[in-house]
């Protein structure tokens, strides 16, 4: 069971992406994926999406992961997290970032987010070098 202060992660993305990512985390990390909630923008107006995100985010620490910062998910995430000390927004979500999150979500929110962004970026590589 998680510590009470552990952050919740909300993955907000287009189409089925959020459910797919959280499902992939579960396949790799098992029940640790319980710390993630998938949310899709499919068929939702901006107002409905903002309300749903706000409900899911709740009152504890939360990291909102979005696929595109420049999309409707990003706009909803910004609206949800602005002026909220316990909410942080991370754009360009990827699987390594989420795996890192589920095992470190008890860290202080600022430290956690810096770590996620750094490790998420570092996970994008070109193992065979330049073609």
């Amino acid at each position: 069971m998680s510590e009470p202060s552990a952050a919740t992660g909300v993955v907000l993305a287009h189409g089925d992406m959020a459910r797919g990512l959280v499902g992939a985390v579960r396949r790799i990390a098992g029940d640790a994926a319980d710390g993630l909630v998938p949310l899709s923008n499919e068929g939702k107006s901006p107002d409905v999406l903002r309300r749903e995100l706000d409900d899911v985010a709740g009152s504890g620490p939360v990291v909102v992961f979005v696929d595109l910062s420049s999309g409707s998910c990003g706009v909803a995430g910004l609206a949800c997290c602005r002026d909220e000390a316990l909410r942080a927004l991370v754009g360009g979500v990827n699987l390594p970032m989420l795996l890192d999150f589920v095992f470190h979500r008890e860290l202080p929110l600022g430290e956690l987010v810096d770590r996620l962004v750094e490790n998420g970026r570092a996970s994008i590589d070109q193992p065979l070098g330049r073609s």
Binding site: G43, P46, S70, G71, V75, A79
Partner: protein, 159 residues
Amino acid sequence: MPIVLHRIDERLIHGQVVIGWGHQLRPERYLVIDDELVGSEWEQDLYRLGAGDVGVEFLDVETARRRMPEWRESPERTILLTRNVATMRRLAEGRLLSGERVNLGGIHHGPGRSEVLTYLHLTDQDREDLRAMAEQGAIVTARDLPDAHGVGLDTLLRS
């Protein structure tokens, strides 16, 4: 001509517009016409973040109607957006959009709305506003993305 797209989309500046349409139309400016957003700087900031390097202006309907001729003469490729049908209808009054294509991009399900297309849900008032726009000379078509099949107003109103 420099207004390359007149679009009704309740999400305004988002992925389909910035990436889907933007890739094809290469806009140099977005004009968001909305009487409420003009007074909300924090919401304007949110939408600007989504637009990347492309400039965004927020204007009320009356200002937009006054400046429409200027925008048409401008060399800047412009996408003009409203987030509801009523606002575009107000823009179109006096045949201001006569001969122009108006794109219906996305209105989601909500109270009083019925599904016309998967991405388009209209109220009775929306339907009346669309008819009025067509009577004022606007050419109304629904199309979420540039490569998608366009659906004409007659078909939409039969749904």
